[in-house]
């Protein structure tokens, strides 16, 4: 298995919109049909047109994936070598990953009676064997480029430095806690349909982690509080009973 974290660098300025990546992807994953406009159960990647630019859509393979943190059975996992992979044998079909993903990447096989989640797996089997992804292999212009993540970051930085036309930002360097798919572009990302979050924003799983972190406190503090309340209630009852008994005894004495 590859040691270093792998990634894809997608240079939007170089994409000519030939859809080779999409065709290669469909062949690799045995998916039917022609190129599609939107990601779907049969299109794990697409090439969309925004502002006259060709923009690839695919799973970003976040370093801290919201989908993986959301999945209750752990069917989605971030691998050590980059891809976020899906274990269809574990999935129960709750579709929380689709809600959780900030880019709404996971798609569902709505047309099937036993549906699974479909998303780009960064050709994890090929990558594990040291090969590059099918889309990178098919790209005729080098717009999609496969390599080690730190090397690709350096390469992206070099391109931004050498050409002032680029937007001075590597999309995916810090977004969503960093991703294994990196984009560079000469048109601002918000105009190309990207989910733009402030890069200092903490990755989404940390939000739920902090909420879940309160569980032990709630159980301990809440538990002792409730037990304490119960004790007070019981004590009050006992006191009331004893007082009533005493009063009754006194009354009967007086009568005697």
């Amino acid at each position: 298995m590859a040691e270093k974290k792998k990634a894809l660098l997608i240079d939007i300025t170089k994409c000519i919109g030939c859809h080779s990546c999409e065709v290669a992807c469909k062949a690799q994953h045995n998916l039917p049909g022609d190129p599609e406009l939107q990601l779907s159960e049969t299109a794990l990647t697409t090439v969309q047109e925004h502002e006259g630019k060709n923009v690839r859509r695919l799973c970003m393979h976040c370093e801290e994936p919201a989908c993986a943190s959301a999945c209750l059975v752990g069917a989605l996992k971030k691998t050590s070598y980059g891809p976020v992979v899906y274990d269809k044998e574990k999935c129960i079909g709750c579709r929380y990953c689709m809600i959780a993903c900030p880019n709404s990447v996971p798609k569902y096989e709505w047309s099937k009676l036993a549906p699974y989640v479909k998303k780009c797996d960064m050709c994890s089997e090929r990558v594990a064997q040291g090969q590059q992804t099918a889309c990178a292999e098919a790209c005729p212009t080098g717009a999609t480029f496969f390599g080690d993540r730190d090397q690709l970051l350096r390469e992206a930085r070099r391109r931004l430095d050498s050409d002032p036309n680029y937007v001075q930002r590597i999309y995916g360097e810090r977004e969503f806690g960093g991703t294994s798919v990196l984009f560079i572009s000469d048109v601002p990302f918000e105009k190309l349909g990207f989910t733009v979050v402030p890069s200092e924003e903490p990755p989404l799983p940390t939000l739920t982690a902090s909420a879940l972190g309160e569980v032990p406190t709630v159980v301990l503090v809440g538990g002792s509080l409730l037990a304490g309340l119960y004790w007070i209630t019981q004590r009050r009852r006992e006191v009331a009973l004893t007082e009533a008994a005493e009063k009754a005894a006194r009354n009967s004495e007086e009568r005697n």
Partner: protein, 393 residues
């Protein structure tokens, strides 16, 4: 009651038959034909009303169970012991229908046991799932005496009830904790949708907000059930308890509203309050039904002194609650995902059928078990004749 003398075919029975016919056909569509035939869910809107209403509201409206159990067993509010069983039964039926509803909602429902084997402790849904399983068990234990006391075997009955009496407090305590956790974490499910959820609903305190809104909604549900029991099932309890229960709502709803307002200011939702958008309308509808109307109505003597008026006011609270849950799980996500979801009829039919099952179960439990004191309406079966006398006393 004259009801018993009516012909076999009544209006309500026809309605029931229609509901079940539609529900069963919808079930066929969902399991045999496919998702497109049965639902309007899509990649843009992967959770429809089976989550938004059947789950979020099914669990939320059951919150009265733990609230009442806590009030009676832990805080010693003996006044409400009378309705404790009712509250627990509503909760049990609520959770029961949520569990059945999940067979429809899950893509691969026969794998329902997976969360017990494959764990992801970082998942809010994992937490919710486990809490719901455990709390449903707790509810069954809390409710079990109502069934056991009807068993014809005296020794078993007395041994069980004796033991139950000794340990029930532990289950009540566990139940309150489990409920508090998963009622909150149902809201917590949406904390991860930051950036997708509309600012009027997104908050990192969705946990607290869901908890604070579930309790009044659960109590409103109990009031509705009690009123209907008094009206139609010959239940003989002082209707004043409806007023007492409802009077708890005002402070609870006010607390929720204040927390909601402060939280919204903190999260930056305030600028969205008056934008000319569909969301704004849904937000104010929610506020009107869940906060403004009930708080005003519950403080009118006219309403407080009339069980019917109280019933409808509590119904408004429940509707407001349902609006809130739909808003968080559907309305609030639509703008970001470009979805235009409205439920397809089978989705509604299934939800209606499950609700009807719960209502019917409630009715027959009140008729044949000792849930609430009532004058006998039907002839009891022979094997029930001597049992349960103690509970009636």
């Amino acid at each position: 009651m004259p009801e018993e003398k009516k012909s076999f075919v009544t209006m309500w029975r026809i309605i029931l038959a229609l509901i079940f016919a539609a529900g069963i056909y919808a079930t066929y569509l969902r399991f045999a034909v496919g998702w497109h035939a049965a639902t309007n869910m899509s990649d843009a809107q992967p959770w429809g009303i089976w989550v938004g209403v059947a789950t979020l509201c099914g669990v939320g409206l059951s919150a009265g169970g733990f609230a009442t159990a806590a009030a009676v067993y832990l805080l010693g509010m003996e006044r409400y012991r009378l309705i404790c069983r009712t509250a627990i039964m509503i909760a049990l039926l609520g959770y029961g229908s949520v569990c059945v509803g999940y067979a429809y909602e899950l893509g691969l429902p026969w794998r329902f046991w997976h969360p017990l084997v494959y764990w992801n402790r970082h998942s809010v849904l994992f937490e919710v799932c486990w809490c719901i399983i455990m709390y449903t068990t707790v509810l069954m234990i809390e409710f079990s005496p109502a069934v056991v006391e009807k068993l014809p075997w005296k020794r078993l009955r007395e041994t069980y009830l004796g033991w139950h009496h000794r340990i029930v407090i532990a289950f009540v305590l566990a139940g309150v904790l489990l409920s508090s956790l998963h009622q909150s974490f149902l809201g917590g499910l949406f904390i991860i949708t930051k950036g997708k959820e509309y600012p009027l609903w997104y908050s990192t305190h969705l946990t607290t907000l869901f908890y604070m809104s579930a309790i009044p909604a659960g109590i409103a549900m109990i009031v509705m059930a009690l009123y209907l029991s008094i009206r139609s099932l010959n239940v003989r309890i002082d209707p004043e308890i409806l007023r007492d229960l409802s009077s708890v709502l005002t402070p609870l709803l006010m607390m929720f509203a204040i927390f909601r307002g402060v939280d919204m200011a903190r999260e930056g939702g305030l600028p969205y309050l008056f934008r000319w958008r569909a969301e704004t309308g849904y937000f104010w509808l929610e506020m009107l039904l869940f906060v403004f109307l009930p708080v005003v109505l519950l403080n009118l003597n006219y309403v407080r002194n009339r069980p019917v008026a109280l019933y409808w006011t509590n119904a408004i609270v429940v509707m407001g609650f349902i609006t809130n849950r739909i808003n968080v799980s559907i309305t609030g996500l639509e703008r970001a995902t470009h979805a235009g979801y409205s439920p397809k009829w089978p989705e509604l039919a299934v939800t209606l059928m499950l609700t009807t099952c719960a209502v019917l179960a409630f009715r027959y439990a009140v008729l044949y078990l000792d849930i609430l004191p009532r004058t006998a309406l039907t002839k009891q079966p022979k094997w029930l004749a001597n049992a349960g006398v103690a509970a009636n006393a």
